[in-house]
Symmetry: C2
Subunit: 301 residues, 2 copies
């Protein structure tokens, strides 16, 4: 669906704006293109495959529950271990390929989560946009942030895992790119999903809390100044370090940075990733970016 | 990020249309935004979103590596623990909602894996079929099983995890629905991917090894008769019990069965699921199957 709508937007764009048109390769909707989209964009009767897998399938549910179970065990063990801890947040100025992690001293423990497709499934808005044949629509999303309470679902395993962590004395904090203008709507949405209380500025950090926009680094730094962050969780790498969202970073370089030996051991041991094949910076790349030349294959004639 | 880009494109789109322009706040279209949008358009040069996420993205790679890391830790701990173990395989005749697990006695330890999108990424065949605009073509797949060696990739984290398990004295076994007619091709493919030696009938079990077709239950039973299976891994629930593939089972009932309290604790603790939003029984369902009526939402008029 995202491709379908993006293309129509791009076409509309190119129709109106000749100068900017050169920035975008003119998209041509070919028969082959449509063929590869089977099951991809929403139809009047079914959502795109990513939504079928994530929100509908047993596999999508288990993938979430399995990660939450692992994270809860990890955080609980950290909390029970009295040794001095280090932050799971990268120290200011350090990067995934040359990371530094500050000592926690005696700060209280916290676990920091992204909200969308990490704590909650935005099923209400996703269904509405898909049924409308729309890709992400900022006006609809803004309404969703304000009024979605009760129509978003706690992700499978989240309620149990958050209880385990809170019972172990760990504060649960959300750091999301929902806007600070809709703080109450997001507090209400998380509460209505059964995830407990989140308070803006204390346990809920939003885009607009500072001047750094969609980067979560400054907010992570603010949280780490008050808490010992023993775990980070998200569905996009920007939930761990904004370096993964560097402008113009290639698909290959982004993957290389995420698997750098300096941080690779953190995945599943302090950094917990939830699968989200529905949207985000993970959904990009042409054939030559997704597949290596060495693995190109074709059947014998 | 995808949101920001879509907003940018929307703005570009609406640049010419004053009336619609009021619908959205106005971020500026940057060259980077357009550049990273490439791949989300439906052109013959981009694979489907599920393949972009799984095979291309840092997130897809981390999801695999994170699960392999957790599984390796689990299996190693099991191997080091001298206590009598029970099978991770359901005892003959038992079901996920009423499971029984036999004692292992003194059998040697094993971990049992599906092959496709669990041990290996079938990037050669997936790219070829996608570039041809095809979904799944049995004739192409058969050629792939025979001749794909060297063009499939070990999944991220698999080589290291298998080494950890084998070093702990655990035999690695593959139980896949590739056909027994192509046993050599699959042995060659797994070896060429760096996953070590698999021998048909000993450490490689294939569809056609018995008369039960695509059900893996009988093969699991055969393996459990020889080994103490401490862990199962797969990307589809049929890799754990065929009951999840019962004919006519609804999307909702399948999910309910997978999260039944009797087996829910196994996920991440003996049963390890790898995310695969590209193909399989997880990719199905209309709106009413994927989304519950209680979460239906629409923006206020």
């Amino acid at each position: 669906m995202s491709r379908y709508l993006t293309i129509s937007l791009a076409i509309l764009a190119l129709a109106g704006c000749a100068t900017q048109a050169e920035q975008v390769a003119a998209p041509v909707l070919t028969k082959e293109a449509v063929a590869t989209q089977i099951g991809e964009k929403p139809t009047p009767t079914s959502p795109p495959t990513g939504q079928q897998w994530l929100y509908g399938s047993a596999e999508g549910t288990i993938a979430s529950a399995q990660t939450y179970q692992a994270m809860a065990q990890f955080v609980r063990a950290k909390a029970l271990n009295r040794a001095i801890k280090t932050q799971a947040v990268l120290a200011d100025g350090s990067t995934p390929d040359a990371p530094r992690f500050d000592s926690c001293g005696t700060k209280p423990l916290a676990a920091v989560f992204d909200a969308d497709e990490t704590l909650i499934w935005n099923v209400g808005a996703m269904r509405f946009m898909a049924e409308q044949g729309k890709d992400f629509d900022p006006a609809i999303w803004n309404a969703w942030e304000k009024s979605g309470a009760g129509k978003a679902l706690a992700m499978p395993g989240a309620i149990e895992a958050l209880k385990t962590m809170r019972d172990a004395g760990v504060t649960i904090i959300a750091n999301t790119n929902r806007t600070s203008a809709n703080a109450k709507g997001t507090e209400d949405t998380l509460r209505a999903a059964g995830l407990g209380e989140f308070k803006h500025g204390e346990t809920l950090f939003l885009m607009g809390d500072d001047v750094t926009g969609s980067s979560k680094d400054a907010r992570r730094s603010t949280i780490a100044a008050r808490y010992c962050v023993v775990a980070l969780a998200g569905d996009q790498l920007g939930d761990f370090a904004n370096a993964f969202n560097a402008k113009g970073i290639s698909v290959a370089d982004r993957k290389k940075l995420a698997t750098h030996p300096a941080i690779a051991p953190l995945w599943g041991n302090g950094w917990f990733l939830f699968s989200n094949p529905v949207y985000g910076p993970s959904i990009r790349g042409g054939y030559d970016e997704i597949f290596s030349a060495e693995t190109k294959w074709e059947p014998a004639p």
